[in-house]
Subunit: 157 residues, 2 copies
Amino acid sequence: MSTRTDLTANTDATTPLSLSERALWFAWKRAHEVLRTRIAEDVRSATGLSDPDIAILIHATDVDGTVRQNQLAVVLGWDRTRLSHQLTRMEERGLVIRRRVAGGVEVEVTDAGLEMVAAAQPVHAAAVRRHLIEPFTSVQVEHLRQALDRISAPDLI
Amino acid sequence: MSTRTDLTANTDATTPLSLSERALWFAWKRAHEVLRTRIAEDVRSATGLSDPDIAILIHATDVDGTVRQNQLAVVLGWDRTRLSHQLTRMEERGLVIRRRVAGGVEVEVTDAGLEMVAAAQPVHAAAVRRHLIEPFTSVQVEHLRQALDRISAPDLI
DNA sequence: CCTACAGTGTTGATATGTCAACACGCACGG
DNA sequence: CCGTGCGTGTTGACATATCAACACTGTAGG
């Protein structure tokens, strides 16, 4: 499926990146720094929630406020350790509670957590729109999404 | 320049993200998690250098091993604090040294740093190619780069 | 001279992420 | 019944990132 990439490039592991390869790599990292910083700033200053807080709360509320911890890890693409630490911190702040169930742990968003995510959603949506969506036309949005999916799962496309 | 984005979307700050907007946002975060993790694993297991190590060493060696600290911050899109802490750690490990100069600080890569980055470059290049470049054709690479630049600096395009 | 300001960098406290090691429960084949 | 894995989660040590506050230097205006 993935066809050859760059006529000036070489797949040999010892060949340095070509100009266009470097350009894409730097553009990727830069875009990520910029976007993450901008959205996190907007949301944090308005709601007191961090990036990882929002990610977890949104996915959990999407499925009615209760999720298997492992499912969260898979959906978010996080590893178990990271998620465990993050949930511990969020539990201490009263945003979620954890319950052992058959074959794992169930994460439930508390009422306080629901309130905070409800308050954060509009700010978050506006930030995402402003920084990620608005620079593009709807056709470009779709193309970009396809490209990103290709990165996440190159074998499935 | 940035034309209207999604006919089903609404710019009103209180409107939740549309399906296509959410899809792009999740695809973005997922792609980032996946790509960062894969490349960092490859490079770290082979060279002992972390993501931020590599970012700094590559940019510094690009300009003959010596850079103004502030220039590094600008190019990488990092803030001063983050860079300062990172350089402190790298200085402790003998990868760089810092020197006060007129109006700032000069960062120089040590011989040990040069050796490590030289050893890391091929591994890093191979990882970037495999995970970021190979899923795409050369035309797609160029389109993706333009899209990323648009995110970094929406006003300039 | 001197004062105020902008640019640059540091520090310490805290939040977040990673790694290696361990703990536990459950299924499967002896 | 007994191992032996495998999936799932936790823990502690450490690396990295962020925030608020401070320190230094040069420089422009009085």
